[in-house]
């Protein structure tokens, strides 16, 4: 798939919590095929301390309107600057980047487990999984109820299980404490979020021999496989998260053995 570099136009910037926001941007061209799990490299302008682009998961795609949605958590100066973008302003993206999640088969029962901004790629994955005929379920973990972004779009695709560390919403604990993770015979589990969370999900899936893919959030510079900064140790050696990933089957990751 050909990658492009393009100035899109911001159409919407909606705050979801004190740190999460959804940025929507429209292309003046027909969008290329974008697969669930792929990401963009967003240029941050007018932020003197931000040098590199910011890799951001594609949250959703509206093919008919040529609109890409990004669910972003303010984590530093770069994402803070992006959070200030107004409709009408330009957003320069290199996209679509990376590989994609393996879509489920018709009738399969799948769990999409995310923590924090790891929920970002799971909406588009959920949409594509549902289109493929799968039974789609979500499990999300947050620190407390105030940090849970509005998630109606997820609810339209399947059941949403929530966990909060303080028990203020859903079950108390982490994503891995959500009973459904361990009790249901999942055909596939997909995960994105902090590495300890993905590792815990991976351990459970490996134990029960469930297909499990994770989307890694390694630091990266170029996003196109040139700098070799974002590597992850795999059974095939160090691979680039940006081009060989960001989605990896946990069986191929070296970290599965160290958890």
């Amino acid at each position: 798939m050909k990658k492009r570099i393009e100035d899109l136009t911001v159409t919407e910037n909606r705050r979801l919590t004190d740190s999460f926001f959804v940025l929507k941007a429209v292309s003046s061209l027909t969008l290329p095929d974008i697969l669930p799990g792929q990401f963009v490299q967003a240029l941050v302008t007018d932020s003197p301390s931000t040098f590199l682009r910011r890799p951001l998961s594609v949250h959703d795609v509206d093919v008919s309107e040529n609109v890409i949605s990004l669910l972003i958590q303010v984590a530093g100066k770069g994402t803070e600057r992006l959070s200030l973008l107004m409709p009408g302003q330009k957003l320069n993206l290199i996209y679509p980047l990376g590989n994609s999640f393996t879509l489920p088969e018709r009738g399969e029962k799948v769990l999409l487990a995310g923590g924090g901004c790891g929920m970002a790629p799971l909406l588009y994955l959920g949409r594509k999984a549902k289109e493929a005929g799968a039974d789609v379920n979500f499990a999300f973990g947050f620190r407390d109820r105030l940090r849970i972004p509005e998630h109606k779009a997820f609810k339209r695709l399947g059941i949403v299980h929530l966990a909060t560390e303080d028990g203020s919403e859903g079950c108390q604990g982490l994503v891995t404490d959500i009973p459904a993770l361990k009790e249901v015979e999942w055909d596939r589990v997909y995960s994105c979020g902090p590495e300890p969370m993905m590792k815990a999900v991976a351990v459970e899936c490996l134990r029960r021999e469930i297909f499990c893919e994770v989307s890694l959030e390694n630091l990266m510079a170029c996003g196109i496989g040139a700098c070799l900064c974002c590597v992850v140790a795999t059974t095939s050696g160090n691979l680039c998260t940006c081009t060989d990933g960001p989605v990896f089957n946990v069986r191929n990751l070296k970290w599965q053995t160290s958890v």
Binding site: R4, L43, F51, M220, C230, V231, A233
Partner: protein
């Protein structure tokens, strides 16, 4: 249209702009964004005799106007290169230059010998300046005797165009430029990255697995420019300027300081089309100012 052509050793370049080793992969990573063949050349990823896994993650840290890297010469080795990468590279009609690395003089020399047999590789860049490996690399580029020995040995084994990539982590860059020229190098390229480090105060740990890494980007440009200016006045062989070039004005600074050619590095991570934009910008500048060729402004600040 001004004449942008340059010559290094016996090798002609259609323009003075190349993409720097370690920032352009093997060229194909940029095929969706630019036509590599419009460049003066590309210097492909640092290559070693044996495969190298490089350093553990994290290998990169963003810093003010730049970044640190500690990739550590991850590559699949010369055998894999010749069998799987070279056939694709030989299709590019531009100067494809291989960046050569080793732990010992013998390794550098053997690599040069192997690369000399490849018809579509008209030049090598001898990397005696990688700061991210425990052996070899910068040890050769910061010790005059070691530099002299490895350059002399490679020169004997390699009769095509030999460029020596210098380390800025020295007291006197002109010493290493002179050694390169004395031992028969056709050009020097500088600077490689400056050794630096960063700590995350929240985790109270270094940001790189190796603690220290190589600093690149516009943060190092004034240092690079100064060293290029010094080297260009010290030797008669061409100097290739590298270090924080983000646009054509930056490139012009290096050329006016005495660089025959320039390499675009870290900028390509942010704007993959930077090298092409630099070529266009230099050409417009020369046309607008009435210069017939880029050589008319090479080292122009040194002429008065």
């Amino acid at each position: 249209m001004a004449d942008l052509g340059i010559k290094i050793g016996s090798l002609l370049f259609r323009n003075p702009v190349m993409m720097a080793s370690g920032t352009c992969g093997y060229g194909s990573e940029f095929d969706d964004f630019i036509n590599i063949e419009q460049l003066g050349g590309i210097i492909v990823k640092g290559t070693t005799l044996e495969p190298r896994e490089g350093n553990p993650y994290p290998r990169m840290a963003e810093t003010a106007s730049g970044m640190l890297n500690a990739v550590g010469l991850q590559n699949k080795g010369i055998d894999y290169f010749i069998k799987n990468i070279y056939p694709h590279l030989s299709d590019y009609h531009t100067n494809v230059i291989v960046n050569v690395n080793g732990n010992t003089v013998e390794e550098y020399t053997e690599l040069a010998r192997r690369l000399a047999d490849l018809d579509a590789i008209p030049a090598i860049e001898l990397n005696i300046s990688c700061p991210n490996v425990k052996r070899g690399g910068m040890i050769f580029g910061t010790n005059p005797d070691a530099a002299r020995e490895v350059i002399a040995s490679v020169r004997k084994a390699y009769n095509k165009t030999l460029i020596v990539k210098l380390s800025p982590n020295v007291t006197d860059i002109t010493e290493f430029a002179r050694i390169s020229a004395d031992e028969g190098a056709d050009a020097v390229s500088l600077i490689n990255t400056l050794v630096g480090m960063a700590i995350d105060p929240n985790t109270m740990k270094p940001r790189l697995s190796t603690v220290t890494g190589g600093l690149s980007g516009p943060a190092i440009k004034p240092v690079a420019l100064r060293m290029v200016w010094q080297a260009a006045r010290a030797v008669t062989i061409p100097v290739i300027g590298i270090g924080g070039i983000m646009n054509y004005e930056d490139a012009l600074e290096f050329i006016m300081a005495g660089a025959t050619g320039v390499q675009i590095g870290t900028a390509s991570f942010i704007e993959p089309r930077t090298a092409i934009n630099v070529i266009t910008g230099i050409n417009s500048f020369l046309d607008n100012r009435g210069f017939a060729s880029v050589s008319e402004i090479t080292g122009i600040i040194n002429r008065n």
